[in-house]
């Protein structure tokens, strides 16, 4: 088996990046960015999630391409769930 083995250095680096992201998101929450507060918070969360998926969950090194297809499918259907629901609920108050 040719399993990819990441170095401890890489794991600790990702760990530090995740901690920095947590600090940054708490800091950003107290800065008035107008409507961008939510966008910034969710962007930081998404960057953290991508780091976890790629490096902790080894998707970056997955030789099985089906794994990537499954992840993209999950994100796509989650997008459909959220976007189509909001297209309904988000516009009900419009007159």
């Amino acid at each position: 088996m040719s399993e990819h083995i990441s170095s401890v250095k890489l794991y600790v680096g990702i760990w530090l990046a995740l901690l920095a992201g947590t600090g940054l998101t708490v800091f950003a929450a107290y800065v008035d960015l107008g409507p961008f507060n939510t966008i910034v918070a969710l962007s930081i969360a998404t960057i953290k999630a991508v780091l976890v998926v790629l490096f902790f969950m080894h998707v970056k090194y997955a030789h099985e391409r089906m794994t990537k297809l499954v992840i993209v499918t999950a994100i796509f259907f989650l997008f459909i769930l959220l976007a189509l629901s909001m297209a309904d609920y988000g516009t009900r108050l419009w007159t």
Binding site: A29, A45, K48, A49
Partner: protein, 236 residues
Amino acid sequence: MHTSPVAAAHPEAHDNPALLHHFATAEQQKDAASFGMWLFLVTEVMFFGGMFCAYLVYRYWYFGDFGAASQSLDIRLGALNTVVLICSSLTVALAVRCAQIGKQKSIVIYLLLTIVLGLAFLGVKAVEYKSKFDENHIPGQAGFHLAGHIPSHPDIPVNQAHAQVYFSLYFAMTGMHALHMIIGVGLFAFLTYKAWQGRYTSDYYTPVENAGLYWHFVDIVWIYLFPLLYLIDRHK
């Protein structure tokens, strides 16, 4: 240890005792197990997705009330738990790495560390829940009351019904997340026992890896829950 009949009959073709007879190679077996785990995680994405969708709808409808309710949470405990969970993800990743390189003692140590961090998370969560009960911030309770006003609108008091929707979502989402943590801690307790017995080698460590995938997923859910539940409208 499990030895398949085929492996017993053909030792030259199957020198890995963990290889089941219906797989051609250990790599194929591992890929199948890993793929199955990812499919399970997709169902989990959709499961939590439903709750995130409900959150999104009500955050949009009851915008200010959600801001006021969010500010009643303790941001320090939320941030502490985020750090605890990120540390536990690191220890799991290192446990899987030790399995890959065959350091059997280190697997046990890192899994035990993960269990300790998982229990620490649940302990902090219990403290938070306790304070919600003390403050009468339990949705559906007759005495429910959230004092204060909508952020940046001192003239508009909090709508109690809308605030209860926030706390319903808070308890549903963090409660389901905590249940996943409890299940994860149970899984790791089992894996620690097996690892201590020397069950996992660099040839066979699929259960450790798949439990790791599950734990990282639970971590990702919290990565989104933290800003959505604790950090909204803090600047106002």
